[in-house]
């Protein structure tokens, strides 16, 4: 693995040199990421070269460096990550947009514009994104000049009624606004449908209702406080986000957590994956009125979560990670109880899943519904089970394994059909793969301490990449000289999976939207930040 790492890099560099793109490589902090400085004037065409070269866009964010604004783009090829840095003057912060080349980056660009004030030129879609009406257009909360506590609004936030939705004209086309308040207890988001009869012509999502200012309130935090925050970026991905943030912190500080801590983190991550997938399989079936599956899978999930509570003190495994280690020990009794629970779960799944697979009325609803083609998934940069159900197999655990995954063999299930049924089957198979992983982790669990010493005045910058249950979670952390956070950006996989929903719903009927939405299950909180 190490021999082939970045073996494409020389070719890329010579390709860029040939095109007279000026790049400077800076020594990187750690293995899977290499960093290039580029010039703002080359930014636009750079995207085309990178895309032609087969790089996947994995993230884009910015940072206020006082008189200059710095923009980062993270790309991935063959499990190796490339971090591009570019700076623009704060007085005239303009960059070319990458949206035309990487459509999945659009919302990240709009996010960066609304929060930091970098304008992306020639973007096909320049509307505001996280900014509803809570702060004025010319205020950029992530600028250092903006107070950490925010401005206290004089009056109530005005209703956000003038967002320019796409409009579709034509005879018999009608508009259905749905949300942000829904009839069930789910996260808030607004969906605007254009339909003819029951057929969806166009779907537009308007998110941002759960914007919490995560990036701003991370500023000035200690490493431990940052992990607490990262664990709350998206409640169902708390382990994935805190591990990504912890990895970034540890790489920045040059700390290697003890082996036992790493294995325990992997155990937590796989437990999170299994719990969420179980809940999702039931919920997808319930959305087509098949309540039986919902009840059975809720039962399995509940038992799993109660085990979490008993073993680690939290049902959703929040606050388990610490900088340099983990919080909870795991004794032999607990380990063997996990083994038993895994065996029991496997047995239950063996008897339940055939029931779902063979139910004709369920098949009728799920097969062929909400198809996302391999090409579309790749173009949008989809991640996790959404991508793997459409034949794009990227998995950080397999393609860019970090410790302890380099010592584990993780199966990578893959579906080709890209419909709702494929996303259900993919989840089921990932549960089995994770059960295998849990067994390996417990077999190999090394003895030793749970935590490495964390230096108070750690400094530097680092990136973390973790395969959460929704897909690749990215985190960027930069610490100042006193060990406090200067910039934190968590990139949830939902950034790239939400746009897929609008694509795969096309030509389906309106009443099939809930099941399509559930099968993608993007995180609102994770992308609203």
């Amino acid at each position: 693995m190490t021999d082939t790492r970045f073996n494409w890099m020389p070719k890329l560099l010579s390709r860029l040199r040939k095109s007279r793109v000026e790049v400077t490589e800076v020594p990187s902090w750690h293995d899977p990421v290499r960093t290039l400085w580029v010039q703002a004037r080359d930014w636009g065409r750079l995207a085309t070269y990178l895309q032609e070269f087969g790089c996947r866009l994995a993230g884009l964010w910015g940072e206020d460096r006082l008189e200059r604004l710095r923009v980062y783009a993270c790309l991935e090829k063959q499990g190796d990550y490339l971090l591009l840095k570019v700076e623009v003057p704060a007085a005239e912060p303009q960059l070319a947009s990458w949206t035309a080349v990487y459509p999945g980056v659009n919302r990240l660009e709009r996010h960066t514009r609304d929060l930091l004030g970098v304008t992306f030129l020639d973007s096909p879609d320049n509307r505001r994104w996280p900014r509803h009406q809570a702060w004025p257009e010319d205020v950029y909360p992530l600028r250092k000049s903006e107070p950490l506590s925010g401005h206290s609004p004089d009056a109530d936030t005005p209703a956000d009624s003038d967002y320019p939705f796409q409009s579709v004209a034509g005879e018999a086309v009608y508009e259905i606004p749905v949300g942000p308040v829904h009839a069930g207890i789910i996260e808030p988001g607004h969906f605007r449908f254009h339909a003819i009869g029951e057929t969806v012509l166009n779907l537009e999502a308007r998110l941002g209702y759960t914007h919490k200012g995560i990036e701003k309130i991370a500023e000035g935090r200690t490493a431990e406080a940052l992990l607490k925050l990262a664990g709350r970026v998206s409640g169902d991905s708390t382990v994935a986000h805190s591990w990504a943030a912890a990895q970034a912190l540890e790489r920045a500080a040059g700390i290697e957590p003890p082996a036992r801590a790493l294995y325990l983190r992997a155990l937590l991550l796989e437990r999170e994956r299994i719990g969420n997938h179980l809940g999702d399989i039931g919920a997808i079936c319930n959305d087509v009125g098949f309540a039986f599956a919902q009840m059975q899978f809720s039962r399995l999930r509940e038992r799993w979560l109660r085990d979490n509570e008993r073993l680690f003190g939290h049902r959703l495994l929040m606050d388990q990670l610490l900088p340099g280690g983990v919080r909870h020990p795991l004794d032999n009794d607990a380990a063997s109880s996990i083994r038993e629970a895994c065996d029991r779960l496997r047995e239950e799944l063996d008897s339940l899943l055939p029931l779902l697979r063979d139910n004709q009325s369920l098949r009728d609803r799920l097969l062929g519904t909400g198809i996302l083609s391999t090409e579309q998934a790749r173009r949008l940069g989809c991640l996790g089970y959404v991508a793997r159900a459409s034949g794009c197999g990227y998995d950080v655990r397999c393609d860019s394994p970090w410790p302890p995954y380099e010592n584990l063999s993780i199966r990578r299930p893959l579906q080709q059909s890209g419909d709702v049924a494929a996303r259900v089957i993919q989840r089921a198979e990932e549960v089995y793969a994770s059960l295998d992983a849990v067994r390996q982790i417990l077999d190999k669990l090394p003895p030793g301490p749970l935590r490495a010493h964390w230096p108070e005045a750690a400094t530097g910058a680092g990136m973390g990449m973790v395969e959460g249950w929704r897909g690749e979670v990215l985190a960027y952390v930069r610490l100042n000289g006193e060990g406090r956070v200067e910039r934190f950006f968590p990139r949830d996989p939902s950034w790239f999976n939400w746009p897929a929903l609008a694509v795969l719903i096309h030509d389906n009927i309106v009443p099939d939207f809930p099941v399509c939405n559930k099968s993608v299950n993007g995180s609102y909180s994770g992308q609203d930040l």
Partner: protein, 316 residues
């Protein structure tokens, strides 16, 4: 005029209205058992109704008088439908007006106002629900009428009491027409009462709703009446199915003994019917909206088959 007869008719209707939530609770109970869950109390629907009746009504700003009148009209029309449906006894004066076509008319009246109210406040969901409801009913009504005609031909009358008495004296086993009609009617019941696989009464997903989408904006006593009307409609259909296709035991006099026997038998049959419905709802997922016409086409074809059977095999 027979005062006991009228009293009996009144009591029968009251029992009908009062028992409707219980029937819904029974179906829910069986479903819970089949899903390995602990069911709520059989009284839960009554508690829900009491809660809704004691709550304030919230009206949309643009709600017209139609929106406010609809719950009363719908509840009234369904109660009328219950009144003309033979339940426990045939010995009531209402049997004279117990006509299958009148009954269909009452249901159509209720549906008409429900669809109007759905569109009245101008939300997308109300209109969507109304349009779906109309699509479903436009296909369900012919099937329903075809079933009515088939059994009417067997009995040579559209009066339900006459139909029931006539069928009581026949060997249904030897009448394929009635078998076909019964199967068709079962499918119509599922569609007309908004049960799985056509509609899902317990969903919270606005975009998938049919009946619930129309009443999404209702609250307080309005909602209570509409919910109760829906439960009553389900019971009326269940009683119809039972009394037309399996009427044995229905009382013909106002004696206490036959009434008691008829009530007990009806309760037993309803429990069985509810169990069947719950079992079907457990093993089936909701069908895709565009499969509903196919589903109702099947109901129509079955009823038509029943009629053809009668003409070809039985009429002579």
């Amino acid at each position: 005029m027979n005062p006991t007869g009228w009293l009996l008719a009144l009591l029968q209707t009251l029992l009908f209205v009062a028992a409707a939530p219980l029937f819904g609770a029974w179906i829910k109970r069986v479903k819970c058992w089949l899903q390995n869950r602990r069911p709520p109390s059989l009284l839960q629907p009554y508690r829900d109704l009491r809660r809704l009746f004691s709550k304030q009504v919230v009206l949309a700003e643009h709600a017209s008088v139609i929106f406010r009148l609809t719950p009363y009209l719908v509840f009234g029309a369904i109660i009328m439908a219950a009144t003309v449906t033979p339940f426990i006894t045939l010995d009531t004066p209402t049997t004279a007006i117990a006509d299958a076509i009148v009954l269909t008319g009452f249901f159509a009246l209720a549906r008409f106002f429900l669809a109007l109210a759905g569109m009245d406040i101008g939300t997308a969901f109300g209109g969507m629900g109304a349009s779906r409801e109309m699509t479903v009913s436009a296909l369900a009504e012919p099937a329903m009428l075809m079933m009515v005609f088939t059994v009417s031909m067997v009995a040579s009358s559209t009066n339900l009491a006459t139909v029931i008495t006539s069928i009581e004296h026949q060997m249904v086993m030897t009448r394929p027409s009635l078998w076909f009609a019964a199967l068709g009617f079962l499918l119509v019941i599922v569609a007309e009462t908004g049960r799985i696989p056509v509609d899902n009464p317990s969903t919270h997903l606005e975009l998938t709703m049919i009946h619930e989408a129309m009443i999404l904006e209702y609250s307080g006593r309005h909602l209570a009446m509409l919910e109760w009307a829906a439960q009553l409609k389900l019971l009326v259909y269940a009683v119809l199915a039972i009394n037309i296709f399996n009427p044995w035991g229905i009382a013909h006099s106002d004696g206490l003994a036959p009434l008691a026997i008829a009530t007990a038998l009806m309760a037993g049959k309803l429990m069985l019917f509810g169990t069947l419905l719950a079992a079907a709802e457990t093993v089936l997922a909701k069908i895709r909206l565009f499969q509903v016409p196919v589903f109702l086409m099947l109901a129509f074809t079955l009823a038509l088959g029943g009629m053809l059977c009668f003409i070809i095999l039985e009429a002579g």
